[in-house]
Amino acid sequence: MPAAIRRYLALLRKEAQQLRRNRVLLIQLMLPPTIVLVLFGYALNPRVRDLRLGVVDESFTTESRDFVDSLSENVNFNVIRRYGSVEAAEDALKSLKLDLFIVIPSDFAITLGRGQTADVQVVIDAVDANTAKIAQGYLEMALEEYNNGVAGAPLVGAKHRLNLVRASHPAPPPGVPDVQSAYLYNPGLVTSWYYVTGLMSIIMFINASLVASALAVKEKEIGTIEQLLMTPAQTGEMLMAKTTPVFVVMMVVMFLSLVVGMLVFGLPVRGELWLFGLAGALGALAGIGIGVMVATVSKSQQQAQLLTFFVNPPLTLLSGVTSPIENMPGFFQKLSYLDPLRFMVTIIRGVTLKDAPWTALWPNLLALVVFAIVLFAISAWQFRKQ
C-alpha cells in the first residue's frame, strides 16, 4: 500500500473516532432532516383559507342578506360578525379581528330592484399584499357566481360543464376559448413537495459547512494543529481525512431525508437515483469546502461559526428555494449564478419531481463540479499556508 494512502487511512481513523465520540454533533447531524422536514413540510402551506369577513349591512333587506349568504357559502370566507356601523368594523380590522369587511349601502335593494348595478364597498387589510390579492380574487369569484345567479337567466338542464382542473373559477361565458390547464409533474398540486426538496438541499449544505468549519478550526483552537503539521502527512491528505467522515455522514443524512420525504409526503423519485446522490455529494463537497475555507481564515470557533452564519443565509435566499429566481431584481439573478446551492436545488428538484432530461441537467452538474473543485482547492491552499 502506498504511504500516502496508509497515512490517509490512519488520519481517517483518528477523525472517525473523534466524530463518533462527539455525540452532540452526531445527533445534530441526524436529527434535523427527520424533524425539520416533517415539521416544515406540513407548516409551509401558503394556501389562503378561512378569511375572516366582517359585514356592515346598512340595507338590511332580504336582498342584502341573500348577498351575504352567497358569500358565506364560499369556503374561503368565514363571516365573523355583522357590525352596526362602519367605524366598528374599522376598529375590528385595525385590531386584527378581521381580514376584510364589506359595506352594503342602504340603497342596495332599491338599486337592484331598478335593475341597476349596486356598489358594495370592500376594505381589505393589505399589509400582507399576497393574501390581500388572493382575498380579492376569491371575492371576485364569489361575486361573479352571485351575479350569474341573480342577473343571468335561470340555468335549465345540464348546462354546468365539469371543470376538471379546478372548480374555483366560474364557468366562462359561451364562445370563449376554453383554456385547459395541465399541471405537469405535480398534478395533485401538493405544496410540500416543493418545500421538502428545497429544505433537503439547504439542510445538507448548511450542516456540511457548519460541521466542517467546526472540525477544522477545533485543532487550531486547542493547539493540536501543530502536532498535525509536524507529521509527514501532506495537507491534501489531512484535509481529505478531515472531511471524509463529515462527507459520509452527510450522504447518510441526504438519503435519510429522501426516505422521510418519500414516506411522509409521498415525494416521487422520477429520475435516476444516482443523479440525486451525485448532486447531493457535490453539494456536500461544496458546503464542506466553504466550511474549511471559513475555518482557515478565522482564529476561533466563534469566529468561524459566525462567518458561516454570514455566508449561509445569503446563499439560501439566493438559491431560489423560498422564492423563485426570476422574480428577483436583475442584479440578484446574476448573483445567484455564484450560488452552488442554486444548482444543487435545481438538480434535486429536476431528478425527484421532473425526470429532467440529461441535456438539461449536465450544465448544472458541471457548475456544481466546478464549485466543488474550486472551493476545495482554495481551502487546501489556505490550509497549507498555515
Partner: protein, 369 residues
C-alpha cells in the same frame, strides 16, 4: 447592581477586542435584511411562456399578444422541433401555451376552441396562480374581440386596500425582516458568550465567585441587549431608506416591544449556550430554534393562520411571531397600545420565561456560599 455592571464591563472588554465579531454583529443584520427584503417576493412576474401556435392566423397571434402584454408572462423563443414536455422538463419555460389548428375558424363560429396550457407545477402555488391568471386573460381576450358581451352586473365591488394600498411586497418583507434580524443576532451572541465560558472552563470562576445567578445573567445579557438595540436602530434606518417604513405616531409601543424582544432573544441564546456548553452545538441550536423556526413559523412569509393546527401552537412560543405583529401594527397600520397589547404581554411572558430558565440552569451549578 455594581456587580452586574462589572460583569457587563468584562463582557464589553472581551467583545471590544474581537474586531471581527463587532463587524459581523453590526454589519450582518443590515446586509441580511437587505437581501431578505429584496429577494423575498411572492409575486409572479416574467414567467417564461413557450408558445406553440399551430393555427398561425391573425386571431391566434392576437390571442398570444394578450399573454405577452401581461406582466406575468414573458414569451420565450422556443426551439423548433422540441416538444413542450421536453422543454418544460429542461427548464426552458415555466408554462407552454398550445393553440390548435383551426383556432380562428372555430372561434368565429362560436364553437369554443380548446387551448391547452401546460404548467410546470413543481412550485404548486405558482402553478395554481398561473392557471387562474390564464383564465382571466382568456376571458378578457374574448371580451375585447367582441365575441361575448360583458355580463350584466348586479353587484359591483369597490375595493380599498388599506395600510398598503400599492400592495407592495417590500413593505411586508421589510417589516418581517426587521423582526427576523433582531432575533437571530442577539440570540447568536448570547449563545456564543455563554458557551464559550463553558468551553474554556471560566464558568467555574463564575460559580465560585460571590456573583449570584441573576447578577451573572443580567451582567452578561446587558451588553448584548444594547447591541441588539443598536442593530434595531440600524435596521430601522435601512427600513426607512429602502423598505418604505414610516415613523409610527406612537413609537413607544415599538420601542418597548423591541427591548422585550431583544431580551427574549438574548436569554434564549444563553439557554442554548448553557444547555449545550459547546459553541458549535449552541450555534446549531440557535439556528434551529430561532432562525429556522422564526423564518418559517412566525408569519414572516406565510400567515400564521394558514399553518396546520397541529403545529400552529409552536408559533405562539416564538417571540418573533408577536414582535413581527407589533412591528407591522406600528409601522404599517399605525395602531397604538390597544391593538398591540396582547402580543406585548406575550413577549413579556416569553422573555421572563427564558430568563427564569436561565436562572434555573445556573442555580443548579452555583456553589452555596
Amino acid at each position: 447592581m455594581k456587580k452586574v455592571l462589572a460583569q457587563a464591563w468584562k463582557e464589553f472588554s472581551l467583545f471590544r477586542r474581537d474586531k471581527l465579531l463587532i463587524l459581523l454583529a453590526v454589519l450582518m443584520p443590515i446586509v441580511l435584511m437587505l437581501l431578505a427584503g429584496i429577494t423575498g417576493t411572492l409575486r409572479l412576474r416574467n414567467v417564461s411562456l413557450l408558445v406553440y401556435d399551430y393555427d398561425n392566423t391573425p386571431l391566434s397571434r392576437t390571442y398570444i399578444e394578450t399573454y405577452g402584454a401581461a406582466l406575468t408572462f414573458r414569451i420565450q423563443p422556443r426551439r423548433p422541433q422540441e416538444s413542450p414536455e421536453r422543454a418544460l422538463a429542461s427548464w426552458r419555460g415555466r408554462a407552454a401555451l398550445i393553440i390548435p389548428q383551426n383556432f380562428e375558424r372555430d372561434f368565429r363560429r362560436g364553437a369554443e376552441p380548446i387551448v391547452q396550457l401546460m404548467i410546470d407545477a413543481t412550485d404548486s402555488n405558482a402553478a395554481t396562480a398561473l392557471g387562474n391568471y390564464a383564465q382571466s386573460l382568456n376571458t378578457s381576450f374574448a371580451l375585447k374581440n367582441g365575441i361575448s358581451q360583458p355580463q350584466a352586473k348586479g353587484v359591483n365591488l369597490q375595493q380599498r386596500f388599506w395600510y398598503n394600498p400599492g400592495l407592495s411586497d417590500r413593505v411586508y418583507f421589510g417589516t418581517g425582516g426587521l423582526g427576523l434580524m433582531l432575533i437571530i443576532f442577539p440570540a447568536l451572541l448570547g449563545a456564543l458568550t455563554t458557551a464559550k465560558e463553558f468551553e474554556t472552563g471560566t464558568i467555574i470562576q463564575a460559580y465560585a465567585s460571590s456573583l449570584r445567578a441573576v447578577q451573572w445573567i443580567f451582567g452578561k445579557a446587558l451588553l448584548y441587549v444594547l447591541i441588539g438595540l443598536v442593530e434595531f436602530v440600524l435596521c430601522f434606518a435601512l427600513g426607512l431608506l429602502v423598505f418604505e417604513f414610516r415613523f409610527p405616531t406612537d413609537p413607544s409601543v415599538l420601542l418597548v416591544a423591541t427591548v422585550f424582544y431583544v431580551m427574549a432573544g438574548v436569554f434564549f441564546g444563553m439557554i442554548c449556550g448553557n444547555a449545550t456548553g459547546n459553541q458549535s452545538a449552541a450555534i446549531q441550536a440557535v439556528q434551529m430554534g430561532s432562525f429556522l423556526l422564526s423564518l418559517l413559523l412566525s408569519g414572516y412569509i406565510f400567515a400564521v393562520r394558514n399553518i396546520p393546527i397541529q403545529i400552529r401552537w409552536i408559533s405562539s412560543f416564538l417571540p418573533a411571531t408577536h414582535y413581527i405583529q407589533i412591528v407591522r401594527n406600528s409601522i404599517l397600520r399605525d395602531a397604538g397600545w390597544g391593538t398591540s397589547l396582547r402580543p406585548m404581554v406575550m413577549l413579556l411572558v416569553l422573555a421572563f420565561a427564558f430568563f427564569t430558565l436561565n436562572v434555573i440552569q445556573m442555580r443548579k451549578m452555583q456553589f452555596k456560599g
